[in-house]
């Protein structure tokens, strides 16, 4: 799949933002007044910034409001509904906390769960697609949700939770990669089933249907070199999980905390780039591209 920058920025930032909102909703850390303002500003900045970035790849962003209508069937629609629900709930909770110094705890819990639901819905947009065998697994929501919670804990200064969640997310990440590498061949979809010609013999793409490129090739036929991908996986694992974890063991200060979060963000962006770039869409088979 084409690793579109807007989608990578969106899933990385909003995942972190909603992760932070999750912890803030449960009063971790228990902040109020100006400190609360800063925390919520960061969380909303990330979550909303990510959502806005995601509208850049739409052909008609001005009609985005229509995307809230099909929550009965569409995970993309559910994501939108959950995101707005989470932002509004947490917005009211935050305003009460910051300006009135009132803690509406149940509202915070609801907002936290809605934030989690948003990340889950995002992950299901990918995990539902049979056409991308690497994504079609319950490990995909596990991965995106654990990264969001771990990153959120890191950002919320929840050292203990971060120390537990970072290794969990890292393990899921590695399992996800290993499973993903065999997913396409496991799926049973190949050139033989794509063309129905497999019972005659070995199928080879002889002539493409068009001399130039097209939407399908631009969007779906992206391929990453094996060496390249190994390097990026090492970067994602090292910066996203291992280094931030090690930094947590050093006596924690603001500078180190900032460093840990920055490294984490870069690592997760690398992981997210791979998430798209390595994902094989079965339509590539029609072009003999897999």
């Amino acid at each position: 799949m084409h690793p579109a920058p807007s989608v990578i920025v969106f899933t990385t930032l909003s995942g972190l933002g909603f992760g932070l909102l999750f912890w803030l909703g449960f009063g971790l850390p228990d902040v109020s007044g100006w400190v609360a303002f800063v925390f919520f500003a960061i969380a909303f900045g990330l979550a909303v910034g990510g959502l806005l970035a995601s509208t850049f790849h739409l052909g008609h962003p001005e009609r985005a409001i229509k995307a809230f209508s099909q929550w009965r069937s569409s995970w993309l629609s559910r994501e939108g509904v959950a995101a707005v629900g989470a932002l509004v709930t947490m917005g009211i909770y935050a305003a009460a906390l910051i300006f009135l110094d009132v803690k509406l705890a149940p509202l915070g819990w609801i907002g936290a769960l809605l934030s989690l639901a948003t990340v889950y819905a995002t992950s299901m947009i990918y995990a539902q697609l049979k056409t991308v065998p690497r994504w079609k697994t319950s490990l995909t929501p596990a991965l995106l949700v654990s990264i969001s919670l771990a990153g959120g804990a890191l950002l919320a200064g929840q050292v203990t939770f971060a120390m537990i969640l970072l290794p969990i997310a890292a393990v899921i990440q590695v399992i996800w990669w290993v499973r993903g590498d065999g997913a396409l061949s496991e799926s049973g979809t190949d050139m033989a089933s794509a063309t129905g010609l497999g019972n005659i013999g070995q199928v080879r793409a002889f002539e493409p249907p068009h001399t130039g490129t097209n939407y399908l090739l631009r969007e779906f036929a992206f391929q990453v070199g094996r060496k390249h991908s190994m390097k990026l996986r090492a970067i994602a694992l090292g910066l996203g999980f291992i280094l931030p974890l090690l930094l947590l063991f050093v006596p924690f200060g603001h500078v180190l905390a900032f460093l840990a979060i920055l490294l984490h963000l870069i690592g997760i962006a690398a992981s997210r780039w791979l998430f798209f770039a390595e994902a094989e869409h079965v339509v590539g088979l029609y072009y003999g591209k897999r």
Partner: protein, 257 residues
């Protein structure tokens, strides 16, 4: 609403005959021609006159080379070249419809045609991600999703002569490789054709239940069989050695003169 209908009254679709398709791309051109000036936004081209031409098409023809496995009777089997037209298969369990967040994509209850309501489409592209067959293309100029409409604006169009009330690709194909009809009716031309020739679904494991069927190519020449020198020989032998019946009588009568 992007939930799928339980059933549709009719199941309109195409039979594509891989045996007779000659790979001329006439259906590609007639499809683009009809659909760029009728239903919905035109099918745009980008850089049409320089080296990097690209454009939106609803129907494309791939070509595959299939190499049969060698056996002891057939040590060097000849490869077959198969042309492979591909457009939307109007799946019964269309994943492109259920993923759509806006309700722009839908499957019609009356005839099963899968369509995009372009005024609702936000151009998110998710439906194209969900389609295993590459049947949807986002138009680069209009920013909306384009796909085969089964020529919905021809098949019911009473302004056209009756002979033209079939999809443009079907009407155009010089080899008669594309057939249009109702798969819900077991007596229809497409149902019968598909039953006779073992019509197949593409990527059945994706569980999209395509309506369109592909007819597998018939076995091709056996030139590599050692004992057979002229492949036409069996067909050139006289079928009737001795005339029978009236002709036989005439033959004998004439013989006597």
């Amino acid at each position: 609403m992007t939930t799928l209908p339980e059933t549709t009254n009719r199941k309109l679709g195409l039979v594509i005959d891989l045996d007779t398709c000659v790979g001329c791309h006439a259906c590609v051109i007639s499809c683009k021609g009809w659909n760029t000036e009728n239903y919905g936004a035109p099918l745009s081209d980008q850089n049409a006159y320089d080296g990097a031409a690209s454009g939106t098409f609803l129907n494309r023809v791939h070509s595959y080379e299939v190499q049969p496995l060698a056996t002891s009777e057939m040590p060097h089997p000849a490869a077959q070249l198969i042309h492979f037209p591909k457009s939307c298969l109007h799946c019964e369990d269309a994943p492109c419809v259920t993923v759509c967040p806006t309700g722009a994509s839908y499957k019609r209850v009356e005839d099963g045609i899968v369509l995009v309501n372009e005024t609702d489409c936000i151009g998110c592209g998710l439906c194209a991600w969900a389609c295993p067959y590459g049947a949807r293309e986002l138009d680069a100029a209009e920013g909306v999703m384009k796909k085969c409409t089964l020529c919905v604006d021809r098949i019911y169009n009473e302004n056209l002569p009756e002979v033209d009330r079939v999809p443009a690709c079907v009407r155009t194909c010089p080899a008669g490789a594309r057939h249009f009809g109702d798969f819900a009716d077991p007596e229809s031309n497409v149902s019968k054709l598909s039953a006779e020739r073992g019509g197949m679904s593409l990527m059945p494991e994706q569980e999209t239940k395509p309506v369109n069927r592909y007819l597998p190519p018939r076995p091709k020449d056996q030139m590599d069989q050692p004992e057979q020198i002229d492949i036409l020989a069996p067909f050139l032998e006289p079928i009737v050695e001795e005339p029978k019946g009236f002709l036989g009588w005439l033959d004998k009568a004439l013989e006597k003169i």
